[in-house]
Symmetry: C2
Subunit: 120 residues, 2 copies
């Protein structure tokens, strides 16, 4: 009987901030949303076009969620018709490295997947 080895690494710091984070970044559109907002303030409809295919409902949900988290801020601008801008907060900007890391991994996975298809 092979004894079970103890964990080689400590659990992800403070009991799984990985999950804490994925809980928010995990939303289907969240990473892309942050991706586009990272370039500067953006309006609701603009974001809706950036994230081609997202429903108003989901966009609203995600925007609210991230606003509550302090990752972005909503700003009413008194024009006519009124416009609303969203932009990343300082905290939100801290997410960029993670988003970029995820994006590059995504590219690798796509490459690999493509290779597989041509190989087979």
């Amino acid at each position: 009987m092979v004894p079970r080895r103890k964990s080689l690494v400590p659990p992800p710091p403070e009991s799984c901030p990985l999950n804490t984070c994925m809980k928010y970044l995990g939303g289907a559109w969240t990473p892309n949303l942050i991706w586009y907002l990272a370039a500067g303030p953006r309006r609701f409809t603009e974001l809706k076009h950036d994230l081609a295919g997202i429903s108003s409902k989901m966009l609203t949900t995600r925007l609210r969620e991230l606003t509550d988290l302090g990752i972005l801020v909503r700003e009413q601008i008194p024009t006519s018709p009124p416009t609303v801008e969203y932009r990343l907060t300082k905290l939100g900007l801290e997410l960029k490295p993670a988003i970029n890391a995820i994006a590059s991994v995504g590219m690798r996975l796509k490459e690999i997947a493509a290779l597989r298809k041509t190989r087979v």
Copy 2:
């Protein structure tokens, strides 16, 4: 009427590798699974204890998924009873930076959330 501005940034490279990636990293346990495997080969039951609370079914599902993706490999070891080891492939190791980035973001979000509670 305020004209809608065009996107300020290119779409996430190659049409959303962000989603390509999140599709896999998004699974509830996936990031933690990779976290533990990053330290070295690990057996099924060991992983099951590492990821406290995961069901056999989910663990199997995630392991298969990641194996199919080429992120980790399964290796039968002819002991008695037979044991099986999983370890990250070279491709799998490339995910570590992303996982780490996500983990550090997770920690920040936890900090912030904690501050909020004490502040209010």
